[in-house]
Symmetry: C2
Subunit: 689 residues, 2 copies
Amino acid sequence: MSKLTDVPKRILIGRALRSDRLGETLLPKRIALPVFASDPLSSVAYAPGEVLLVLSIAGVSAYHFSPWIAVAVVVLMFTVVASYRQNVHAYPSGGGDYEVANTNLGPKAGLTVASALLVDYVLTVAVSIASGIENLGSAIPFVVEHKVLCAIAVIVLLTLMNLRGVKESGKLFAIPTYVFVTGVFLMIAWGAFRGLVLGDTMKAPTADFTIKAEHQGLAGFALVFLLLRAFSSGCAALTGVEAISNGVPAFRKPKSRNAATTLAAMGLLAVTMFCGIIALAMATNVRMAERPAHDLLENGVAVGSDYVQNPVISQVAEAVFGSGSFLFIVLAAATALVLFLAANTAYNGFPLLGSILAQDRYLPRQLHTRGDRLAFSNGIVLLAGAAILLIWIYGADSTRLIQLYIVGVFVSFTLSQTGMVRHWNRHLATEKDQAKRRHMVRSRAINAFGAFFTGLVLVVVLGTKFTHGAWVALLGMVIFYATMSAIRKHYDRVAEEIAAPEGPSDDSLRPSRVHSVVLISKIHRPALRALGYAKLMRSDTLEALSVNVDPAETKALRDEWERRGFTVPLKILDSPYREITRPVIEYVKGLRRESPRDVVSVIIPEYVVGHWYEHLLHNQSALRLKGRLLFTPGVMVTSVPYQLESSEVAKKRARRRSEWTAPGSVRRGPAEHRPKEPSGSSGSSGPKR
Amino acid sequence: MSKLTDVPKRILIGRALRSDRLGETLLPKRIALPVFASDPLSSVAYAPGEVLLVLSIAGVSAYHFSPWIAVAVVVLMFTVVASYRQNVHAYPSGGGDYEVANTNLGPKAGLTVASALLVDYVLTVAVSIASGIENLGSAIPFVVEHKVLCAIAVIVLLTLMNLRGVKESGKLFAIPTYVFVTGVFLMIAWGAFRGLVLGDTMKAPTADFTIKAEHQGLAGFALVFLLLRAFSSGCAALTGVEAISNGVPAFRKPKSRNAATTLAAMGLLAVTMFCGIIALAMATNVRMAERPAHDLLENGVAVGSDYVQNPVISQVAEAVFGSGSFLFIVLAAATALVLFLAANTAYNGFPLLGSILAQDRYLPRQLHTRGDRLAFSNGIVLLAGAAILLIWIYGADSTRLIQLYIVGVFVSFTLSQTGMVRHWNRHLATEKDQAKRRHMVRSRAINAFGAFFTGLVLVVVLGTKFTHGAWVALLGMVIFYATMSAIRKHYDRVAEEIAAPEGPSDDSLRPSRVHSVVLISKIHRPALRALGYAKLMRSDTLEALSVNVDPAETKALRDEWERRGFTVPLKILDSPYREITRPVIEYVKGLRRESPRDVVSVIIPEYVVGHWYEHLLHNQSALRLKGRLLFTPGVMVTSVPYQLESSEVAKKRARRRSEWTAPGSVRRGPAEHRPKEPSGSSGSSGPKR
């Protein structure tokens, strides 16, 4: 049955491009940066705030640790960026972390990374949208009062856009991202100017609040644990760094170098913004608490559950630019927009990953086909559905969602860096050239340090966040892993079952005869056509078959058959239950019993209709019969279509559908991006029969 | 794609019976009464209370009108019963009201009746379940606190039972119905005995309450209107009377006479119970109000929204038998049970009506086939879904739902009685025999009075209940009518389009040649089988076709083809987008362009799998290709199935499915219940080719 939703015409012009023309859509660095880096850059909208939230547990005094946390995050960022620069040079095919782990650590590790990435995509959507809504809400109060509703609305909107197949326009990404980056830098610069040069006191809206510390005066082990927790929250700033390694094929030549440069630029921008925001937050005395209703006190009184805790970036902007000022609004809007765009990267990354996984038979095969709209649509809808579920369960609270977010990211960081170390070891074993060796040793050192550090962070994250929600992410990973394993096992088993034997098999021994049976209910055009086609096929026997559901109609059929003088014999089957399927199946089985080596070809007229509801009105019995016939050995089923007038509509729709651009096609680059032999030419072999 | 739910084995034994053996399951009167009359008999559980609720608007003093209302209802009941006794004699085929209206008043009237009946079925489920829950709640308080939840649970349970195909056992119906009837009669007798002989004062639990009348001291027009409203509420007692006329074929011979007798018995029982309950309600001073939270006062204070207003039958039982006594519990349970059984009649009446409507092409054709499990399942699920929606919207409040209920019933009463008058007129025009003529004139008089009276009641119901909810029922009727008209129009248009022309048509002019194309992706067993079968068909040309999605795989395919020395030529199509559908379509169209009078036969290997999820992993591209091919003129598509091991599971399941008993098969009686020519014998005509 056809898909029930009909997707309207694409809003952007242009047919899907042939691969040899895709060169025109390869991205220059200045466009690639926003396209691929919107995820990590947008993370600075929530990561600094998360640090403060955790620190607030020990009271405002703990805030003075935040610069140290920031330093740790910066070091980690530099490490990860440096490590990934090695990745993009070594694996320019865009397989990303999955390919690195798969190639170097084996399929189980690869599948683990894949599961982590899939969970990551869902959480990217959930966290980015939730945070975007919170940032938008700082300018538009209505949004904050209906957080879950607005969040779900945005997800639905993004889903529809991606289902339509909006071509991921680089320019569409560039503007909000650059506005956001510029805005934050402007804010940092202006804040620094005002504070250091003009000597203004800038106060955040929460500057006068106090925090009721859960644990005042923490020390020793507990303090260290708290700092680690704060650090792991700050690591949310690193989410999305690996996107560039997935997208190397989309860069202009030299691909790897441009990708590496973009990575560096992104890292630099991100750490600057992160540190700048933390610094300004300290300078303007931002006060944030994990449970503000409880622990945030205004004049000694808890602010209560009606209080809306605005994100740190918005509080700082308010302090630096002034409440409700033009720049404040612009920054809030750009932040929200860039967060929504970051969510969109998941919609594009997902089919890419799905295609690669399908090629390795971990997912249904049709995801591997480029233009397969329906399979992608299903995947996009699943992604959106999972994100909506999370948003709904967690009340669109970005802080709670972030607890789930970081685990998957660091699993794939650690495994991919470890894989790179193995990669370099493998190459060092065979490489002779001294210059190349030195380069490899250096890369290996970087990746080793990266693996060690990210592994450590992974342990910290698991330790500090397991009960806070990380277990949900792990559960998701387990489910994905199990499903993909099962799919792979299934494909392997089936491939074994159907492997063609050497030498002649039972099937290639030509069966002796073929009996054709045409199903007739009434003499109309479709039936006449089926009869005509059947006669063409020159089978050993041919007869028409009708089931006696209504005696009056059957008699009329027989009379007309004789009147028209058809030479094909008409056989009527009794049906006391007024059903069609069983008598036909019994008859076909009877034919096969008489001559087991013969094949029965059942020819069924089929109406081709235009609208989905018309499917409900026609062909249902034929469909059911076909289904049962397929179980009967030695039978083949032929459909002879008769196109009704309304099918013209559907034909046009199907043609439009095939011209649809799959999401992520810009990121994937040209079709031949995985190393393989050059494309074969078409031709035929052997004489015509 | 196969249906996702797998339904477990039937719990009752016995295969579907052949029509010649169905004689054993025809119902004797004592079983037919509970099966067909449970709906009208159960109506007395809510109808008397509805009368009191409406009267309470004018204060307790208005209660003394209730005996008069009861008399009016009794007269109406006798009229309707007498009228339907004519129906069952004149139309013993079980077409019921639809057939009467269709035959005598034309298709539009017939369709109106059908729409009314369909709405009626949904409301039967909703009202009966809601009322059953309220009655159950008088014994089990938990149920009443979660009315909507329990109601929906019961509907789901009933739906599952009917999906499984539990054979509607007559005995299953008989016991609760007879317990209910006996219980009510016992209550009436015992109450009369205690009140009149022993002189006990029996007080209902609400006897001490007062009612704050909305309009005290109504008179004149307003009073008449109120009485009419109360009367139309009391008419809820008549719902379901027509069920017997639909079920005449299921009676033992003489069918019509037995059905008429059962009707009379049912009418007698119903009016007795109705009047008895009203009388006891008056005697025990039951106090009920439409909005009890507001208008029911206990010691001058409104009882508030926590108060649960128990149904009148339960209040009377409490007064007569004593609160919490054994008989009280038994009666409450039996009342609830018989109401649930009444709801079940809708599950059985619906496929019956659907089958008849499908035969007249107002509904999809597959509903006409007896054993079509899937179509019935869909209908049952739709019915349940609509009922659940109503229950949810109206908060499982039987009083509010009843406002919708009565309209549809009286539409079909009125139209069917009018149709009967037409029927008698038609016969009187041709009948000569005096005795028969007298009989017909008498019947006509009865039906005419019935038509007049029910028409009057219909006007009253519309007038008094339109704003209270009847408009919803009318809207439902309009939607059904429009949908069925559209379906009929569609079938008519298609029939016209495909009507076979006299003499030779384009299709029967034998096309010149047929080109066979076998789709190969890899050399495995399914492909070998498809190749083998294709060779059998002796077409004019035969070639194998493969799409170059992966150059490495294509090269391997070509090498193996040569290695195995296949004589069939292999053609490779380029596919720069890595899709399969478009290159194949283009190629096939190319073949047709070269020789427009030729036919292309596309042969596709197909995996037959056992579990629904396996469908997602295989055949998807093949399915999509088949869909597109069907739009291409001059093409026929052959599936060559290869049964994987897992398909054994599905084979067993499909066999079990075909042995399922359709709901309502007991009510429908043997297959040949509509007047038609005797069943033809099977045979063949013409020489074998």
